[in-house]
Amino acid sequence: MNQILLVGPEKNRFKDLTASFSENQITTLWTDTAGKALALVAGKKIDLVIIHEQVPDMTAKKLVENLITLNAMMNCVVLSAMSDEDFHEAYEGLGVLMRFPLIPGKAEAKKLQDHLARISRISDQVKSVKGAGNK
């Protein structure tokens, strides 16, 4: 993972998260609207998008839907005050990696990188798994 797009009304909210990613040589970009986020994703190599639940021009859920319609491989994380149960109900099926608190920090950055590493390990196994019909 090389580049993360942060989407939300206040850049400062992402300060601790940005610092943690930076320590791991991960670049972050920030924008305040869903429209600008979609334009950035279309024009740059973005590996992951972290979205505040209150983006001014679109719901976070709608932005996730638009992002995966453009590229289903795009991983998304949402900053939300919802309970785990409500979040699960609202977002499952959209393949959101995890929910972050409204002001995420170093612990969340670590949790996210560990989770992505786990998915990456599973994905690597896929390359070696072939069905009996493959000869």
Binding site: E65, I68, T69, N71, A72, M73, N75, H88, E89, A90, Y91, E92, G93, L94, G95, V96, L97, M98, H115, R118, I119, I122, S123, Q125, V126, K127, V129, K130, G131, A132, G133, N134
Partner: protein
Amino acid sequence: MKNGRIAIPSNGQGGLNGTRAGHFGHCDVFTLVDVENGEIKEVSILQNQEHVQGGCMVPVNLLSENRVSALVVGGIGMRPLMGFRQVGINVYHDDQRVEIEPVVKDLIAGRLSEIKNDQVCGGGGGH
């Protein structure tokens, strides 16, 4: 469907006489059915991989790597559906029958419809 490879999310050991899994991301195995000239040529089994939150693209890549051209689900989330479409796997829908063989035969005969965007699952659906 005249030629191609069909994947069916399956319970247990899978196979043409087996049963379909309702939760495709969590299925035990995929039953793979090779079709040539509208006939079943070969049936094989593909082990599913571990499923984790947000790991929807794992089964997409697994089936793509194994040259699957069509998938039949009872339900599916929006992200994996988009993923399958983007790698060129057509996704068909049947939420009525648990048996594998009649669903495969219906797909070969052109009697199953592709899943529509408004049929995707939210909240604990087929992902």
